[in-house]
Amino acid sequence: MTIGAQPPARGHRLNWEGLGATIVVSLAAILVNVPFLTALATSFKTTAAISDPLSLPIGENATLQHYANAAYAAGYDFELYFRNSIVISCSNVVLVLLLGIPSAYAIVRLNLAGRWLLNAVAGLRLLPAIFFVLPLFLMFQNLALIDTVWAMIIVDTFLNIPIAMVLLTRAISELPIEIEEAAQLDGASTYRILLSIVTPLLAPTLVAVATITFLFSWNDYLFAVVMTTTNARTIVAGATNFITSFGVLWGDISAVTVLSVALPVLLSIFAQRYLVQALAAGATK
C-alpha cells in the first residue's frame, strides 16, 4: 500500500505518463545491467566467439563449456565454495540479528549509553577495512581460525553490524510505544515484550536487514581472500581463481559470476517488497 504514490492523473494523460516512465526506466535498467548482460552472454559464447564483440551466443558460437569449467574445473571445488558461501552468509544473518535486535532495543527504549554507543557502532563503518586486515589475520592466526568458516562469519558480522544497527534502531523508534506500555502495565517483563511483541512487529525490517547482511556477506572479497585458502573459500573469492597467469579466462569467469549472482537475485526478488517497506521512513502499520 503505497501512500506516497502520485495521485493518478485524470483521463488519457495516464497512458502517456505510464508509457514514458516505462521507457525511461527500461533504458536505465538496461544501462545499469550492461556488465551483467555482458557476463551472461559471454558465459555462453565459445572462446573464439568471445573475441568478436558483437557475436551472439547462438548456433556454433554457443557452448556450455564454461559452466562445466566453473562447476568442476581441475582444482576448483565450486560445490564446496558454494556451500561455504551459503553457510557463512546464513550464519552471518543469524548472528547479526541475535546481536543486533536486543542491543537496538536497549539503545532506543532502555536508554543504553545514549549518543556515543550508536554513533560509535555506526562509525565503525567509516574505518577503512584494510586497517583490520593484518590485526584480524594475526588474531585469527593465534586462534587457529584461518581458513575456517567461523573466521568469515565473525569478520562479516563485524562488517555488517553497523548498518544493521542503524536500520534496527530506526525501525524500533518508529514503533508506537503504546503497545509496549500496555504490555508493561499488564506485567510483562522487558524480555517478554522484546520477544513477543516488538520482534514480530519488526518483521519487514528484519527481512531487509537479513537481505542486506546476506548480500554483503556473500559478496565480500577482501576478507574472503585474506582469511581463506581452500577449506573456507567463498564463491566470490574462488571466482578470482580464474584470473590466471595465462590471462583472464573470460568465459569461465563470466559463468562463475552468473552462478554466484543467482542466489542473491532470487533472494532479492522475494525480499523486494520488504526492502522497500523497511527502508521507507514512517510507519505504515
Binding site: 526506466v25 535498467a29 556488465p35 527504549r109 545514549g114 577495512a129 523508534s173 518508529e174 566470490v236 510507519a283
Partner: protein, 312 residues
C-alpha cells in the same frame, strides 16, 4: 517518568523520529545491559581489540622485510604525511567521492520519482534495476573490463558499429570513465533508498497542491525535495562512506594508473601493505584516513538534526 525519545540525540541523529514517539520509563538498569551484552562482548573482542592492535602496529616498523618488530613511535605517521602520493590519493578520493555521490543522488532521485507511479512492467523492471546491487563489486570490476575491452568488448564494438571510434581508456578521460562506471553501478542503490522514502510521503499534500494548481515540477521542487531531505541525506551518506573506500573496480580497471592519478586511498594503503610490505606504514596511513574523516562526522550529524522537518 516518561521521557521523550527525542531527548536522545543518538536516536535523533540517525533515526527520523515522528513527533510524539516516546520512551518507556526504566525502573531498573539491568535489562538493557543483559540485552546488549552479546553485542558489547563481540565488539570488544573483534572490534576494539583489533583497533588497538592495529594502532600498535602503526607505531612499529613491522614489515615483511624483517623478522624483528621495533617500536618507532610516530615515524610511520611522519612518513605518510610527507608522502606526496598520500596527498594526491587523498585529493583524488575526496574529489571522486563528492562527484560520484552527487551524481548518483541525482540519477537515483530522478529514477525514483519517475518510477513512483503505476506503469506497465513495473515489477519486472524493478527487479532488473536492483540487480547490480547483487553483484560483488570485485566481479563487477571484471565485467566492466570485459565490456570495455577495445578489441572484444561490447561497448566499443557497438560504438564502432555506429561509426564512433572513441577510446574509452584515454588517459585524459580515465577519471571520467571511472565516475560514469561508479554512477552506473550504484544508482540502483540510491534509487532503492529514495524510492522507499517516497512511499512514506503523505498523498494528501500532493493532492492539495494539485488542487491549488501546482504543476508536477513545482510539486517536486516545493514538496518532494524538502521532505526527502533526510532520506537523500541518508542515501548520500551511505554512498559517500563506501565511495571513500573504493577499491575493487578501480584496481581491476586501472591498477591505480596511469601513473598514480587514479590511486584511491584504499589502493594506496593496499600497495603500501602488500607491495612494499610495510605493514606499520600501511596501518598508520589507515589511521590517518580515519582521523581525516572523523571531523566530518559531526557536520553530517548536525545537518540531519537541523532539518526543520523534524520538529521537536
Amino acid at each position: 517518568m516518561i521521557r521523550k525519545a527525542v531527548d536522545n540525540p543518538a536516536v535523533d541523529s540517525i533515526c527520523h523520529i515522528p513527533t510524539g514517539a516516546r520512551r518507556r520509563s526504566v525502573p531498573k538498569g539491568w535489562a538493557r545491559w543483559v540485552l546488549s551484552a552479546p553485542l558489547l562482548l563481540f565488539l570488544t573482542v573483534f572490534a576494539v581489540l583489533p583497533v588497538f592492535y592495529g594502532l600498535w602496529i602503526s607505531l612499529t616498523d613491522q614489515s615483511v622485510l624483517r623478522s624483528d618488530i621495533n617500536f618507532i613511535g610516530l615515524a610511520n605517521y611522519a612518513a605518510v604525511l610527507t608522502d606526496k602520493a598520500f596527498w594526491s590519493a587523498l585529493w583524488f578520493t575526496v574529489w571522486y567521492t563528492v562527484v560520484t555521490t552527487a551524481l548518483v543522488l541525482v540519477t537515483g532521485f530522478v529514477l525514483a520519482v519517475l518510477a513512483n507511479r503505476r506503469f506497465p512492467g513495473k515489477r519486472g523492471l524493478f527487479t532488473l534495476l536492483l540487480l547490480p546491487i547483487m553483484i560483488a563489486p570485485a566481479l563487477m570490476g571484471l565485467m566492466f573490463r570485459l565490456a570495455l575491452n577495445g578489441d572484444t568488448g561490447l561497448i566499443p564494438g557497438l560504438l564502432r558499429h555506429f561509426g564512433l571510434d572513441v577510446s574509452l581508456f584515454d588517459p585524459h578521460a580515465v577519471t571520467t570513465l571511472l565516475v560514469v562506471l561508479e554512477v552506473l553501478q550504484w544508482t540502483p542503490f540510491t534509487f532503492l533508498i529514495i524510492y522507499s522514502g517516497l512511499q512514506a510521503l503523505p498523498a494528501e499534500l500532493f493532492e492539495a497542491a494539485s488542487i491549488d494548481g501546482a504543476t508536477k515540477l513545482q510539486a517536486i521542487r516545493y514538496i518532494t525535495l524538502p521532505l526527502m531531505g533526510p532520506t537523500l541525506f541518508a542515501a548520500g551518506f551511505l554512498r559517500a562512506v563506501d565511495a571513500l573506500r573504493t577499491f575493487d573496480v578501480i584496481y581491476v580497471l586501472t591498477g591505480g594508473g596511469p601513473g598514480t592519478i587514479t590511486t584511491s586511498l584504499s589502493i594506496y594503503v593496499y600497495k603500501m601493505a602488500f607491495i612494499s610490505g610495510s605493514f606499520g606504514v600501511a596501518q598508520a596511513a589507515a589511521v590517518l584516513i580515519l582521523l581525516i574523516m572523523i571531523p566530518l562526522a559531526p557536520i553530517i550529524i548536525g545537518r540531519v538534526v537541523a532539518q526543520p522537518w523534524s520538529k521537536k
